[in-house]
Subunit: 318 residues, 2 copies
């Protein structure tokens, strides 16, 4: 479909749904944000998303009938050809025909893809991955997600599950629960590690910043302590940069990647100095020498990557 009508991009997460209306000149002209409330069931989520689209249309001052299509990024493995969510643990959905069911309600064509794929596609088309045919996105948040553009296209693999760098084995020999990259480098893992060190009586500014509440330390707090050169947080983040370098550098070695885009809440909060350190570390591990020319950059679209990517994918595929 030529991109001539406004398209809806949706970032459907376990906690929040972000909806944006993207105009043909690639601007967001209407927004809506709502709680997913997956515990109310599949149909209720579809109702809320439909309602959110109506609100975003109102903000954009257009009617729903002016829309061309809807693109959705959803968690877990997706069949992009059928728009079926194969398994989304945090939505409690299995084999959910999301594209078909939402399409019926809206009388619009709907495409669905994995949430990280959609964000990586957004960066590749409009953000920090522009012009790259061989790139990887690595998203650091509650977990660690990833996605690939190979030979200029989103890569899915045989089981349609590709990109799961968070679940690659980072520490062979360690037991399940501590051996994957995600177990060591997600925001959750970093927060747990900082809390554990503080509870073992290491001093840190984080104690003050959190008023002593060390459960689920937020990315923002970690970033504040990092910027303030807090020795404990610097030490933990330094170690995370080295670990990410080994894992991402190994992906560059395997796939001869031109570019790596780092995104997600933790990476965005820590900002440029963090991305620069990870880039150094990736180059240290990448093989052979010519792969050390890989570019490692921060996300340019940040939390809009999913909305843009979903809308652009819909404009391509419908």
């Amino acid at each position: 479909m030529p991109f001539t009508k406004p398209i809806v991009g949706i970032d459907l997460g376990g906690t929040n749904v972000q909806i944006g209306i993207v105009s043909p000149d690639r601007k967001i002209i209407g927004n809506a944000k709502l709680k997913t409330k997956a515990d109310q069931g599949y149909e209720a989520v579809l109702d809320r998303v439909t309602q959110g689209i109506t609100e975003a249309c109102a903000e954009a001052k257009i009617a729903r009938t002016d829309l061309g299509a809807v693109g959705i990024g959803a968690p877990g493995p997706i069949d992009p050809n059928t728009g079926v969510v194969l398994e989304a643990v945090n939505l409690r959905w299995t084999e959910a025909p999301l594209a078909k069911d939402l399409g019926k309600r809206l009388s619009l064509p709907v495409i669905v893809d994995n949430d990280v794929n959609v964000a990586v596609y957004g960066e590749n088309q409009m953000g920090a991955g522009r012009g790259s045919k061989f790139m990887m996105g690595v998203w650091l948040g509650t977990g660690v997600g990833g996605g690939f553009i190979l030979d200029g296209k989103l890569y899915y693999g045989h089981f349609l599950t590709a990109g799961e760098i968070g679940h690659t084995i980072h520490l062979p020999g360690s037991p399940p629960g501590s051996r994957s990259l995600e177990n060591n480098c997600s925001r959750t893992a970093v927060a747990d590690r900082i809390a554990r060190l503080i509870r073992a009586n290491r001093p840190s500014i984080v104690t003050t910043l959190t008023e002593g509440n060390l459960d689920g330390i937020k990315s923002k707090v970690i970033a504040q302590a990092y910027e303030a050169n807090d020795p404990l947080v610097r030490e933990v983040i330094e170690d995370v940069c080295d670990r990410l370098g080994a894992a991402i550098g190994s992906c560059v070695t395997l796939l001869s990647l031109e570019r790596v885009v780092l995104g997600g809440g933790l990476s965005e909060a820590l900002g440029k100095p963090f991305v620069k350190r990870v880039a150094q570390s990736v180059r240290q591990y990448a093989f052979p020498a010519r792969c050390k020319d890989v570019d490692v950059v921060g996300s340019a679209l940040e939390d809009r990557a999913g909305v843009f990517g979903a809308a652009l994918l819909a404009s391509e595929r419908v």
Copy 2:
């Protein structure tokens, strides 16, 4: 080119060159094997290869003018579009225009690709990888090599160096020289480890089999001890299977692969029980659950994979 004339497939290694004439019905009708003698220089290697092709033609009872094309697998990163060997450390070649130079001597079209890619292509077309669009080959020998078929095609990546699983980081935190997969799982690494344990006074049948000469223990000896249930060798190989499972399983997780073919001298010598143990280990580490359906199988073409693959690639690309 339709495959109507005999094609030469060449496996060009640092020590040996294997040459085979492949008929249109995919049989090897003539062979030659020679020492590379790379120390005599680039031109001398081309002379010897030319001579070898003449000998193989004689065995096949055809003239060199009956040939359709030549395909070569050579070590190191190659530009498959130009047939330039970018860097082959063990041949001492840099930016060597092999396709052009050999083509001139033979008055035949010549294509060149990486040696592991060529073997993986052979397995994919005629061997243990038949019918698979998403597969990886892992070759265990002096080093650990790898190659990918993604979306039904050989995958090269941006710097044309993809597949180097041997150089991915297996033990982050360990120093260079002991941290890569190759440092832990090549035949060289396995032989060194067995020798070290025996020198530390662990009993093993390997002492008898090698008559006490523990330098560079061969794959065949390792396999004999493994089959004889030698406790020391069993323990080392068991550990290698677990390590390979973590590394290959991580590739399956990243790329959602349908099939993995294990080849190379060490894997071929250890045979089916070894491949079965690696397969179990890969399935243990692959994520998500649907990726545990990956097939892990042994090479079917063994040391002819390179010759067949090179000839088939030439028949496709010329």
